[in-house]
Subunit: 709 residues, 2 copies
């Protein structure tokens, strides 16, 4: 259906003429070659020709100037719409050419496009642009001024398949318009999806196409036609970042995360020095492998024999930790490279972040030359708890568990450490990526994907070096393990300077948001959400379906928990009559069954227990949200204990459902919430939002990983 050769020939001509854009007829030919319908049209060079062509196509027609030198045709008075008679066409031809010459006396005029006038249908915009993070992306939105104002557009990586195309058509806020409103016929989703996938294929096959703008595409019940086509070419747009293979990444990362031997370059016996803190943490953290301090002026540091240079260390070294000033790094890295280390952990600052990009480029070049991977520079280091490895100048971390975290910023890394310790969050790894001169989130994801000690990956990031690679990796990883991302700087970038509609619409954050979601990533709206999601999601069993039930002692909590369900895209189960009857047996007559199930305040522990047990027992229910109300009859710890008992009873029977709880009451609910959390129930005091947000995050992951069946 596609004809690459036609496009190749056109692009050769454009390149030969040194142009950066295609003419309208060229654009049309490119579309037709890729099976994207365009209106019937001809190129006229005289008024007479225009009239003949118009009569052949069928009146009324549109006339448009064709000139390689005129990009903004309307501005140049180069467009006339709805010419209905032969005379009008002849006059129109002359007017347009006149206007074009007046607009730019030097413009070369190829002719005038005579185009079929399409009416009716819904205007949409389909485009492709070259994003600096993600490369080729496809955009879709409704046409018209309103959408331009409201920025109701969606993006996907190119190429894309039909399902992704459908998800775009359904993914804009105004999607209902395409399904037909006020008696309008629905547009052909198939035809639109076809255009979207073909545009994706086109820019993938020809990466030098920097921007493709089909605006408008006229979508009707029968088809979709690209009325106006604008294509920009830029050889730069075809550049691809360097990538390592999965095998290469895994080989290096495994040696880095599970090293047998570590050298600390700049190790020091002097308290307060970074080289001392790193040594102390390695030793005190309980790392069982070899630790070799490197310091030309010391014989021994912390009971470990010191060496003047890494070259002097006996045997293989997997990881070299650099605790020396930036300016000494190149020479030391050269030696470490010759020694054959897998990873260079560059703690020092003074590289790209202070403007010293040359130095950073230099160390990357040295590392590449030796096949060494760099973590950092400008980082606190990293933790890998299964190996008792605290390769950092912060304090050791020892609560082992399945959560791997990374941060681009040192400050955020410290917040991760503090929160984890305070919440007793079981962690497999905490990694600072800093300047990301080399190792980035993509490498970490690939390692953690295969790491049997990691169940969930949570990442703070400010940018992605290679968003396309990250998206593809995250898609693969998140099918097995939840990936939570806090993307900082989402509001600072603003619109980029762009010369096409699609480019102008592609605000950084919307592109990130759409593509991360498509990759199955759970996006955390803020730092605290990142931390709470990381802590809570692994604790919750994966739900088997969408039916969520709220059981609450406080009607007021029930209402707020329902609000939170809607906010988090959770589906409050419609309770079937038999189940309703079953619940009613346990609750007072003035309680409310339905959903939320309001057992009413002042009920004894048995009422909580019976209703929760029924919620766990009944196969049609997939998740429980509990609203507790502090009373004398059922005090907080009594509630906490009964809930953890009944939940573990059912887990023992093989019934695993996510249970979260909101506790409303006096200060004792804090202890009760902690107790519940330690027993596998995600519970919080004084908030109805947080427990539901964590459950919602678990659901988002389960849905995108296809686990809900």
């Amino acid at each position: 259906m596609t004809d690459k050769e036609i496009v190749e020939k056109i692009l050769e001509k454009v390149a030969a003429e040194g142009r950066s854009s295609l003419t309208a007829p060229e654009g049309r030919d490119v579309c037709e070659a890729y099976g994207i319908p365009t209106p019937h049209e001809r190129l006229a060079t005289t008024a007479e020709e225009a009239v003949a062509q118009a009569e052949e196509i069928g009146l009324p027609v549109v006339l448009k100037i064709v000139s390689p030198d005129i990009l903004h045709k309307t501005e140049a008075g180069g467009v006339l719409v709805g010419l209905a008679t032969a005379d009008a066409v002849a006059d129109g031809f002359r007017t347009i050419v006149g206007n074009a010459k007046a607009y730019d006396a030097d413009a070369g005029i190829t002719g005038v496009q005579v185009q079929q006038l399409l009416t009716g249908g819904q205007e949409v915009i389909v485009g492709a642009t070259t994003d600096r993070t993600f490369g080729k992306i496809v955009a879709f939105g409704l046409g018209g001024v309103l959408v331009e104002v409201l920025k109701d557009v969606t993006f996907r990586l190119a190429p894309l398949d039909r399902d992704q195309a459908f998800s775009m058509i359904d993914g804009i806020a105004a999607a209902e318009v395409l399904r037909g409103v006020r008696g309008a016929e629905p547009v052909s989703r198939d035809a639109l999806a076809e255009v979207l996938t073909r545009v994706g294929a086109l820019v993938t096959d020809f990466p030098q196409l920097a921007e493709v703008d089909l605006n408008p595409v006229l979508a009707t019940a029968d088809g979709a036609t690209a009325v106006d086509v604008r294509i920009l070419v830029d050889p730069e747009a075809a550049r691809e970042p360097v990538r390592f293979s999965q095998e290469e990444i895994l080989a290096s990362m495994t040696r880095i995360m599970k090293p047998a031997s570590i050298a600390v370059i700049g190790a020091s016996a002097e308290a307060g020095k970074i080289g001392n803190s790193v040594m102390k943490n390695l030793v005190d953290g309980g790392f069982a492998g070899e630790i070799h301090p490197v310091n030309p002026k010391a014989a021994e540091i912390l009971d470990h024999k010191a060496y003047p240079s890494i070259s002097d260390v006996p045997g293989d070294v997997d990881v070299a930790i650099f605790a020396i000033p930036a300016k000494f790094v190149p020479a030391a890295l050269e030696e470490a490279g010759r020694k054959g280390v897998a990873g260079a952990i560059l703690i020092p600052s003074g590289f790209g972040e202070t403007g010293n990009i040359a130095l950073q480029d230099q160390v990357v070049a040295i590392a590449r030359g030796h096949g060494v991977r760099i973590l950092g520079p400008n980082i606190y280091g990293y933790y890998y708890t299964p190996e008792n490895l605290s390769a950092t100048f912060c304090t050791p971390y020892d609560v082992k568990g399945g959560v791997a975290l990374s941060s681009q910023s040192g400050g955020i890394g410290m917040a991760i450490l503090g929160f984890s310790r305070s919440a007793k969050m079981g962690v497999s790894s905490i990694v600072g990526v800093g300047n990301k001169a080399d190792i980035d989130e993509d490498d970490l994801l690939t390692f953690f994907e295969h790491d049997e000690n990691t169940e969930l990956i949570a990442m703070h990031l400010e940018d992605l070096k290679d968003g396309r690679s990250f998206a593809e990796t995250a898609k693969r990883v998140s099918a097995r393990k939840p990936v939570v991302v806090l993307k900082a700087g989402r509001t600072t970038q603003g619109a980029k300077a762009a010369s096409s509609h699609t480019g102008a619409l592609a605000g950084d954050d919307k592109v990130y948001d759409d593509i991360l979601r498509q990759s199955g990533v759970i996006r955390a709206p803020g730092l605290n959400d990142l931390l709470e999601f990381a802590r809570g999601i692994p604790l919750l069993p994966t739900p088997k379906g969408e039916n969520v039930v709220i059981i609450t002692g406080a009607g007021g909590s029930g209402v707020l928990l329902s609000d939170a369900c809607v906010d988090n895209g959770l589906n409050l189960m419609e309770i079937p009559p038999d189940l309703d009857t079953a619940f009613r047996k346990f609750i007072p007559p003035f309680g409310a069954a339905g959903n939320p199930i309001d057992i009413t305040g002042g009920e004894p522990p048995a009422t909580y227990r019976n209703t929760i047990a029924l919620g766990l027992e009944d196969e049609r229910i997939h998740a429980l949200i509990l609203g507790y109300w502090h009373t004398i009859v059922t005090p907080p710890m009594v509630f906490a204990e009964l809930v953890s008992e009944v939940v573990s009873e059912y887990r023992a029977k093989g019934i695993h459902k996510p249970v979260v709880a909101s506790l409303a009451g006096d200060v004792e609910v804090e202890e009760a919430s902690d107790f519940l959390y330690q027993h596998g129930v995600v519970a919080y005091p004084y908030t109805t939002e947080k427990p539901v947000a964590v459950l919602g995050a678990k659901y988002r992951w389960a849905r995108s990983a296809g686990l809900l069946g």
Copy 2:
């Protein structure tokens, strides 16, 4: 400019004919009487008349059937647009009448409206409807299918002034369209505001107008014309709720909140009984007034002489607390009424909330008969700490301060109590309003407005009995004291059954949102926000302007704090060159001035101190957000102490600016945050969102109270 008599006469006719809607010509006349422009039009009863009128008005024209029996004209084939010749008009007349007869053979046909065809301009919708909470409200949005799908509409109470009308025009998401995009002329805001205020006046003057739909109104650079008018009449729509005067409310509420004498009906010596808990809390809480247990079977309870009936209590009684089952309340209330109590605190449940509406109505009637105000029923009671008054079955609360809180739900009340105690939040009052049979948020607001012990009012509510009264009261109160509202149930109501566009667009929550905002209320998105806003806002001085500056040790926190500023509508100050230079003096060369000011990690306390001091000193800066990064050089408590020192130094000099802080670090940042909070700096660990959200809430209040100058 308005002519009420014309409208009166039309409505008399409609009422006399038992109709519930106006005909199009009647609607047009109503509009014209209120100075709302409509297209030129005539009523034709024959085809010949139609032709003559069309030629008089000017071709092309629109023809529309006029029939009291046909509401949906288009559906009945009763509308033809763009008839450009006399023949077309004559044919059109016959076609329309024929269609109408075919649609409904029994329909009375008044004639055919011949209307000027307006073209160009922007279609908008202006309407008014009768909201069950707020009464008459005016709606505004763009016309067209897209807006209907995207629900981009805004609401205000009717009547409204020109400023409010302008705030509607500017308040829709697509407002930019009206200001002219893609070279279109901006529409006349004056003309649109005129239509909005006139519609507001119309439904205020004639409350029986249940719905007014001007759809579309064609807005151009010169004017705004109501092209189609639909008006529905319903005598029920004119009903107004009963209201007390401010003086009446204050008189009762003051006796209730500051009573000299309290009777506890159903007081008990038996531990575990509500009547015992209430007595204990009154006594243990340290209430200094008289406490009179009422119990026919006891002589003394907790060392207080008991009386068989409230009638036997000597002297005046201000408040009677009911701790008896619901069924005994009417008789006891009758007695309390005769005794002349100001307030009856109905703790028992078993009224409206369990379906026993008749009993609830009965007690309200008894109370009204005696001029008694009822709090509840179905509540935990209330606290008023300045009087050491804990009139509740929960535990006493003794951290005095300026925050007054109320909750509609008992569970939420317990969460308020627990959070307050845990956070050591200074509270003036906590009130449960429960079923709100009588006293509601409006009464509380009025009391707290004048209460010298209250600085801020925070309310959890699920509905408003009289939203109009609340909105007016809140507007008055919030000009002096911040009013924070958590409106629960915001997502559950769904669209109401409605017969007009305006009605269908008026989803409950959007109406609440718009009107609460107009009333100066700070809406809390969730329970935890309500509590944190209540705690933090009174601590922060009111900013004098919009210039917010971030000073951060961690670049990563700076980015997230900037995101949070955008999320919360805060304005990151553009730092003028001289100030930039001044900041640069204190920070390392590779630090970033600008805003955020990144002092970089690893800086000593002096760098924090100097930059913060400069931020407080410089008059152009109005608020500070601090991002702290835990390092050995400046440990958490050192940071906390230096910040509180420098802040209090400047407060001593009379410089009061809001300062909030986000602390990233190991667990010691928790203690440091508490310390800061206790010293007037709103600080949180492990979150960049919360401190900025509290500052944002303070700003929203300061802005709407007109305090930013």
